[in-house]
Symmetry: C2
Subunit: 175 residues, 2 copies
């Protein structure tokens, strides 16, 4: 969810600027984990209602809609570290991706418990232990990582180009 | 969670009595789904704070503590049908089972997405499609079901007796 559907960085840049007067750029935070780049991150994300204010990543609504028509899509969020975020996070998915049903959502503390064929994620901690095909969505914190196995994409247009041709009628795959 | 750790029926009996003046018994609701047995069930469970008021199933705290010392335990709740319940449900787990860490929790819309070796559950819809060992925890709604594959247990003492001898040092199993 965060870093693939939810554009948390846009929101973090806004909040950082509001609080410090300084607008950071992607290059300022490249290669740093969110909490390192934004010292107030945990305070922000644990504020009631925070996740409802996060914008969507460009192209993700149309892209996920297309994937959802051709694959068995599950939206997964590593979310239980912050219990107060759970309801907000699910309502955010409903806000922007109303075609994703409640049966397709998972809020958990470990993504490696899930079985699936394809994972799109921005964090190595999730991708590295996944047994299927892995796609790394570019986000500032992972820009310095070069990983042979995880195919890097920079946009939802790239995801569409990569995955939609794989679909053949009658072969529904779980992603 | 519900029907294995959370004693939702005790709470439903209480609320039903408060609202109708009639105290139902297990036999009155045996074999009926919760929503059929308690017409106000959805109204109750979608009330903010409901899940924090549910008592624990007898023996579950001590039983889960023992399993947690010997197995890789994951607490899973089919919860996304009711987004407002998610935060309450996780806080409830912390209230009663503080030894379960956030990394061990899953709130989802389909338990069949998870990979594990053993499932303890009260619902056939979860047990039937699970590939590992299945244990059916007796609850009023499932009392009429006789299923050759799912081992029925009536108490946490039975779960302990069934599972703890399976543990041999060095063999951590996920349940």
């Amino acid at each position: 969810m965060d870093g693939v559907l939810a554009d948390v960085y846009s929101r973090f840049f806004e909040l950082q600027e509001q609080q410090s007067g300084i607008r950071l750029t992607v290059m300022d935070v490249a290669g740093k984990l969110e909490a390192e780049a934004f010292p107030n991150e945990v305070k922000w994300i644990t504020t009631h209602g925070f996740f409802r204010t996060v914008p969507v990543i460009k192209g993700s609504i149309e892209g996920l809609r297309k994937l959802n028509e051709n694959f068995e899509v599950i939206v997964v969020s590593l979310a239980t570290e912050f219990p107060q975020s759970l309801t907000d996070k699910q309502l955010w998915v409903y806000d922007h991706f109303p075609f994703i049903r409640w049966q397709q959502m998972v809020f958990c503390g470990n993504k490696n418990l899930l079985q699936a064929d394809i994972m799109i994620d921005d964090h190595l901690k999730n991708l590295d232990n996944f047994k299927g095909e892995t796609i790394m969505y570019s986000q500032p914190h992972n820009l310095n990582i070069n990983h042979a196995r995880h195919k890097r994409v920079h946009s939802w247009a790239e995801i569409e180009k990569l995955l939609l041709p794989k679909y053949r009628p009658g072969q529904v795959r779980r992603s």
